[in-house]
Symmetry: C4
Subunit: 218 residues, 4 copies
Amino acid sequence: MKNIRAAVAELHAELVRYGLVVWTAGNVSGRVPGEDLFVIKPSGVSYDELTPENMVVCDLDGNLVEGEHAPSSDTAAHAYVYRNLPEVGGVVHTHSTYASAWAARGEAIPCVLTAMADEFGGEIPVGPFALIGDDSIGQGIVETLKGHRSKAVLMQNHGVFTIGKDAKAAVKAAVMCEDVARTVHVARQLGDPLPIAQDDIDRLYDRYQNVYGQRSPR
Amino acid sequence: MKNIRAAVAELHAELVRYGLVVWTAGNVSGRVPGEDLFVIKPSGVSYDELTPENMVVCDLDGNLVEGEHAPSSDTAAHAYVYRNLPEVGGVVHTHSTYASAWAARGEAIPCVLTAMADEFGGEIPVGPFALIGDDSIGQGIVETLKGHRSKAVLMQNHGVFTIGKDAKAAVKAAVMCEDVARTVHVARQLGDPLPIAQDDIDRLYDRYQNVYGQRSPR
Amino acid sequence: MKNIRAAVAELHAELVRYGLVVWTAGNVSGRVPGEDLFVIKPSGVSYDELTPENMVVCDLDGNLVEGEHAPSSDTAAHAYVYRNLPEVGGVVHTHSTYASAWAARGEAIPCVLTAMADEFGGEIPVGPFALIGDDSIGQGIVETLKGHRSKAVLMQNHGVFTIGKDAKAAVKAAVMCEDVARTVHVARQLGDPLPIAQDDIDRLYDRYQNVYGQRSPR
Amino acid sequence: MKNIRAAVAELHAELVRYGLVVWTAGNVSGRVPGEDLFVIKPSGVSYDELTPENMVVCDLDGNLVEGEHAPSSDTAAHAYVYRNLPEVGGVVHTHSTYASAWAARGEAIPCVLTAMADEFGGEIPVGPFALIGDDSIGQGIVETLKGHRSKAVLMQNHGVFTIGKDAKAAVKAAVMCEDVARTVHVARQLGDPLPIAQDDIDRLYDRYQNVYGQRSPR
């Protein structure tokens, strides 16, 4: 639990570093391994003030279990994801500029970069318009991402949710999502990006999921 | 008074952090509770050199009451707002890029993001073209924002003024204003953002004003 | 001389801070009061390594007078300006992105922002295409700016040169030039900025030159 | 070897400083003088954690010779370049936004800035679409850059590879490539940049290669 608190608190610094958030408008959560609990950002607290201690612990219905602050106002969406996608260990939400711009038009980001094929295995899809306050956002995330290779969804007129095997993987997906959203946007401003054949996308995705990065330590 | 001086001095760092200002072109002020006074940035002093001590105190007519420096050249506009909107405790002025670009076209920012509905409750309106030197700018701000949900106004060909219950709230509005100005601009570059129904805007605004953030400490 | 060396060395940090330069592609110089000399950046030295000691001193023909490094490759242009515009005490050169983009199209930046009227008194003009290696660039700068209110010139397909009463004023002009170049660019991407009447530009310019900032210390 | 390890590790900080990379998506390598070896970034390790010690040494077939981590997944492309271009002492790969956007459209960057003529001697060319996993990327780089003045190639739908006489020169080319990719993009958004005559491009390139920067120390 202590480790998850520390990891979730620290990972918010990556959202700041990559310019994905302003003020308090974005949050990271991480599932507590072996328990029906997750750690999430407290609501309305600035990124500079986050510590392992002021992180908040919730159960999978989004109820506060441990913490001196109220949980993020997006807690219900995170909880719905953990409840319905047991393989997910981390969730991130941001309003990062370029991804949110695609979301405002309700337009999926086409897969025209090898880095996108690597990380997302195809386009980044759009989820429905949904109001905060009940399970609508969570349902929209899960319905869009279930069975999809993409770990990111653009919620219409809203922003991005990403998932991962742990909080760090979800943060990486949020960083990469904004990066490709920006590059494809810039490419499209002056013409049409060239498509990548589906076969090549499949090969890139398969390789990246199985080969990239450090293997076991030695 | 000491607290307000410190808060106003420190809050300028947020304008720098979020890239809303260059050189000395932006300023924060805060009303002194219970007195007909406000604290404001000294004119032409760089953000690195701001301290609680070199902040300037003015009365509600914009006259210098306390301070070794001349007050910001935008002081008359701040003073007019405090004189005419008693519920306002903080005012911010910037020339932030995207908001000023909408202002240069004299075009309101349409409410196509849930974060905009939350914070501004609708579009961010345009105020008149007004010259510095008398009450024209102040009048333009007050006439545009009086009875409007938005805490930000785009002054035509000029920049942004935001208001809030205190200086921090006005700074937050300035940060959010630039953020949504940028995202909606980017969205519009490649097509038309999808509208959000007025009913949904109303629900989001109402919820955010009443539910978001930390309640009383416990 | 020691003060000018320190000021010129330090002012390069402002070019970095505001993102006006990459690698070593930009330079500041300052005239030595009462002497036919100026201090300028050494060529090909990174901004992190600049110190008062490694600054270079040249005469008004651009000849090296003092210093262990070769002077900036733009020294001839700076020298020409000091030789021909005796009121100029500082010169800055950058390839800042937005200003250079206007320069690449050979298009003056129209005065559609009050901040532009304040600082530049009208449009920012374009100078000729000129090769490095003789006085062509210097001549282009002087011919364009002589008798013009603007302290900045966009040299076609090249970048920006700015002048000022001292090095700090020239750096401020470079910072403001990029800021308005970016804002007007962004405004134009989605339509036509509204014009400002010439009378109003004149009033703003006159006021800013005579009223703004701190008067004499007290 | 120790020096090359330290230089390659440190130079990654320049990719971060100029915003050319996010997460772990970019890498620098440097040839070990007098040996058929090169030093390269370990795969999947974050830029903050790079040290001279965790750099990886490979032979010119891309086989791991020394190091506790797996080499960058782009090692085969770096190796192919060192094997086939003996004058190259450094290679850099990034997915920097604006260069990658030109690459996504498969469009060369036209030489419309004097800084581009200086550094690249003409347009920045596009290389073929190539999958990771064999020598395809390396071949595409070498075939495109062999006999070309440009030290940068835009690999279609992928990103940028740059070469140089050492790792630092290749990093400089990567920084300048993104800078001109961005400026020319911005210029093109509002019209057509003016061309530079081939003769002038030739003169600028020749001068910059032979005159710029510090001569031998004295």
